[in-house]
């Protein structure tokens, strides 16, 4: 017996397709809301910028979805991720929402949480910079931030300053000690020198006049005998 199967008409096909197309965001929303593979994202614009904060609108959300797609591309190396693969839901006024990532091949299947986390951690710096935010103001709840490597120095700077200071002090001490030693040597030499001078005077004995004792060979200048005509003009 033949059962008559009714072939779907053109309107039915269109209607069916339309339902699917209209349902897909609803399906997508269901995927996003009920998923355990979703991440909550929190953005604090006023904390980051104060009064200069930009508004969080659909365009910003678009940017967010595209950066996440970029992150997935970078992590997996596949160029198939697109903005449709990032689903966002649960928007709040805090500016927080939940997102999930679907497989490019099959939009009903989600990427597991761990893979998304790895992708986010790898590109967190780029994602932050796209929004001019930081790890504190763009939070992926549950994803620990990758902290920047602290600056590594070849020689720690404190050692350099220490070397300079101890060098100066060492030079100061050596200079002081050398000046003390040379002062002592000079004092000793002067003592020895005085002894020699006295011996000389003793050997070269003249008649013992006062002049010889003065040790001045040229004599003493007595102004009374000078011919100083400057003052005697009358």
């Amino acid at each position: 017996m033949c059962v008559k199967v009714q072939m779907p008409s053109g309107e039915m096909i269109t209607g069916f397709l339309l339902t699917i197309i209209l349902m897909s965001p609803v399906v997508a929303q269901d995927l996003c809301k009920e998923s355990k593979d979703g991440f909550k994202v929190r953005i604090s614009l006023k904390t980051a910028f104060g009064d200069d904060a930009y508004e969080w609108n659909e365009s910003e959300k678009f940017l967010f979805r595209s950066t996440l797609a970029y992150a997935m591309r970078k992590k997996t190396g596949e160029d198939t991720y697109n903005i449709e693969n990032i689903l966002v839901c649960n928007d709040t006024k805090r500016v927080s929402f939940i997102f999930v990532v679907t497989l490019p091949a099959d939009p009903t299947q989600l990427i597991p949480k761990e893979e998304v986390e790895r992708a986010v951690r790898q590109s967190k710096h780029r994602i932050n910079n796209a929004f001019l935010l930081s790890d504190m103001t763009l939070e992926f709840v549950g994803v620990p931030p990758t902290l920047a490597v602290p600056i590594q120095y070849n020689t720690p700077p404190w050692l350099i300053v220490f070397g300079v200071v101890i060098g100066i002090v060492a030079v100061g001490i050596v200079a002081l000690l050398m000046s003390t030693v040379s002062k002592r040597r000079r004092a000793k030499a002067k003592d020895a020198g005085f002894d020699e001078d006295e011996d000389d005077e003793g050997i070269v004995k003249e008649n013992g006049t006062a002049l010889s004792g003065l040790n001045k060979k040229d004599g003493v200048y007595n102004p009374g005998f000078s011919n100083d005509e400057r003052f005697t003009k009358l």
Partner: protein, 600 residues
């Protein structure tokens, strides 16, 4: 030739600056503000200034008079007063030696912090990152970055005194070497080099304090701290502990009993007017304490306000995140109002975060009183890291700490080298520079022990026991000997000879009656405290909890404390006994001689 003539200061100003540099030290910055806070703010000034009049100025005057009259270091000066009292000088020198050993370690820490300030990010501003870069090093996360930098990176402290292994901290050892080398540079020529250095070490700290005063009072929240300090809580005056602390603070702050003042004034000219200088230096010292505490409380106020506002900010974020409200709805001012409102409207959601909401209180922040190395290196560096251009403020601050510490070290080391130089045998065989170098070398080698992981606990022993009880005893014996062994009338005549007029009757009253009584009371109080306190304890740093825990000293620690106290206290009776025995044998020998002479 020149060795027989005693060197002297180039001018009296150098002497005054040397005394100021010695007396104004770290205690003015980190002990006085704490006492002020604990004992009722502005009200503490009443017992403090009273004690300054009762014991500070008279005892300071007395030590300067002795040094200027005897023109010898502490050992020689007290031996001249009475041969039984040479032990007093030896006790002073031993106490100064202990002080030198541990005090320069603080200077080494100041150097360490100073050198680490020359970085784009101050190392105590942020925690270091752990190995897989997911978070901060655990010890730092539990404590705070400033505490981590002090306990782990500066001290590398062990968790108790018993764990002593681990070698020396090379950075600390290098800084200690530098500190001693600089001290040697300052004292190498004795009073000639010291006299030049004190122009700088006495005056520059005031410049920095003034700069910090301006910076401090312009900080956000500084007035909270200054107001807190100056609101007097006069009920504290009824507490006897307030008066005891005021007396001990004046006493230790002026540096009496170490022999440094005697050493400094021994280089004075005979007719130098020390009375006016003593009053001037004591007043400058107390004035600096008050000035420094205004600055400290401004910084406290800033730090407390910063912490309080951070606490409010954390609560605000918690509320915003839990209730998903837009950022502008809650501001820092109305956080508390919102907490109560949300608690009543959404109690179920609120219950999830009740334990995370913190109690923010400005009063509680201001009440946390810290003193000592904790204040200088942890609290202050925490405040500095939040200031704009923190590197500049950090360099200025640690430079000031260094100068205060170095200035005091000058006095401490002079108290040791002056009596040594007075010993004829030593000064004839070795030159002055060699003696000074050997003293510095010895102190450096012994001080290296403080750079080991448990070194800070030994440091605490020295800090608390080496120079407290023994000083009270020494100065008490000093006052009694001057008034009753040497004779107050004789002392009066000496002063008249030096100054041209007799000392004021007020000073005589203090010397003869009030100061000895006061010192005896303090001494007895300390002993009672030691006995009643049970086994002595210390604060050990627990790296897992990120805070200090109280532990008892091990047996060898307690024995060491007893030895420290005994070594300086026992000098006086032992030397007196020795002098007594020598006199007896000498008089016995003389009697024999005269007997044999008469026999012949």
């Amino acid at each position: 030739m020149s060795k027989d003539v005693r060197p002297s200061w180039d001018n009296p100003m150098q002497f005054v600056l040397a005394c100021v540099s010695y007396a104004v030290g770290l205690g003015n910055v980190w002990r006085f503000p704490y006492l002020c806070q604990m004992h009722g703010g502005g009200g503490f000034l009443i017992p403090y200034l009273l004690m300054l009049l009762l014991e500070g100025i008279p005892l300071f005057c007395m030590e300067l008079a002795i040094g200027q009259k005897m023109r010898l270091g502490s050992i020689g000066a007290w031996s001249s007063i009475s041969p039984y009292l040479s032990g007093l000088g030896v006790a002073s020198v031993i106490t100064s030696l202990y002080l030198c050993l541990y005090y320069n370690v603080i200077n080494a820490w100041s150097f360490w912090y100073l050198f680490h300030s020359f970085q784009s990010v101050l190392p105590w501003a942020e925690c270091p990152v752990n190995s897989n870069r997911t978070g901060f090093v655990e010890e730092c996360a539990v404590a705070s970055p400033t505490q981590f930098f002090f306990y782990r990176e500066t001290l590398n402290i062990s968790s108790s005194m018993e764990e002593s292994g681990g070698g020396l901290h090379m950075g600390q050892a290098l800084c200690l070497v530098l500190a001693w080398v600089i001290v040697y540079l300052f004292i190498v020529r004795g009073v000639k080099s010291t006299g030049v250095v004190v122009y700088f070490t006495a005056t520059f700290p005031y410049v920095v304090l003034f700069i910090y005063l301006i910076r401090g009072v312009t900080l956000h929240g500084a007035w909270n701290g200054v107001k807190y300090m100056f609101t007097p809580k006069l009920e504290q005056l009824a507490n006897p502990q307030t008066w005891i602390n005021a007396a001990t603070q004046i006493f230790f702050s002026l540096g009496l009993g170490f022999g440094s003042l005697i050493a400094f004034s021994s280089y004075n000219h005979h007719h130098n007017d020390f009375e006016k200088q003593a009053i001037a230096v004591s007043l400058i010292n107390s004035g600096t304490s008050i000035f420094a505490s205004v600055v400290t409380f401004a910084i406290y106020g800033f730090k407390a306000t910063f912490n309080y506002e951070s606490c409010l900010e954390r609560n605000r974020l918690l509320l915003l995140n839990t209730f998903d409200l837009s950022e502008g709805t809650i501001s820092v001012e109305n956080v508390t109002a919102w907490i109560s409102q949300l608690n009543s409207t959404h109690p179920d959601i609120f219950s999830t975060i009740t334990d995370k909401i913190q109690d923010c209180s400005l009063e509680a922040e201001l009440d946390t009183a810290v003193e000592g190395t904790g204040l200088a290196f942890i609290v202050y560096s925490e405040a500095i890291k939040n200031m704009p251009v923190p590197q500049l403020w950090s360099v200025l601050y640690f430079l000031m700490l260094l100068l205060l510490g170095m200035g005091s070290m000058l006095g401490n080391v002079t108290a040791i080298i002056t009596p040594l130089a007075d010993i004829k045998i030593l000064s004839r065989t070795l030159s002055d520079e060699t003696i000074n170098g050997l003293v510095c070398l010895l102190c450096l080698l012994l001080g290296l022990g403080f750079t080991s992981p448990s070194g800070n606990y030994w440091f605490t022993i020295f800090n608390e026991y080496a120079a407290t009880l023994s000083l009270l005893f020494i100065v008490f014996i000093e006052v009694i000997s001057v008034c009753y062994v040497y004779g107050l009338k004789r002392f009066e005549k000496d002063i008249e000879d030096m100054l041209g007029h007799r000392p004021h009757w007020y000073l005589k009253l203090m010397w003869a009656l009030v100061s000895p009584l006061l010192l005896l009371c303090l001494f007895i109080f300390y002993i009672i405290n030691y006995i009643q306190g049970g086994a002595p304890t210390y604060q050990a740093w627990d790296k897992h909890m990120g805070k200090s825990v109280v532990k008892e000293y091990p047996v060898y620690g307690q024995v060491f404390i007893a030895l420290l106290l005994a070594s300086s206290l026992s000098c006086v009776p032992i030397a007196a006994l020795y002098a007594f025995c020598r006199r007896k044998t000498r008089s016995a020998v003389r009697e024999e001689h005269s007997n044999t002479n008469t026999a012949e």
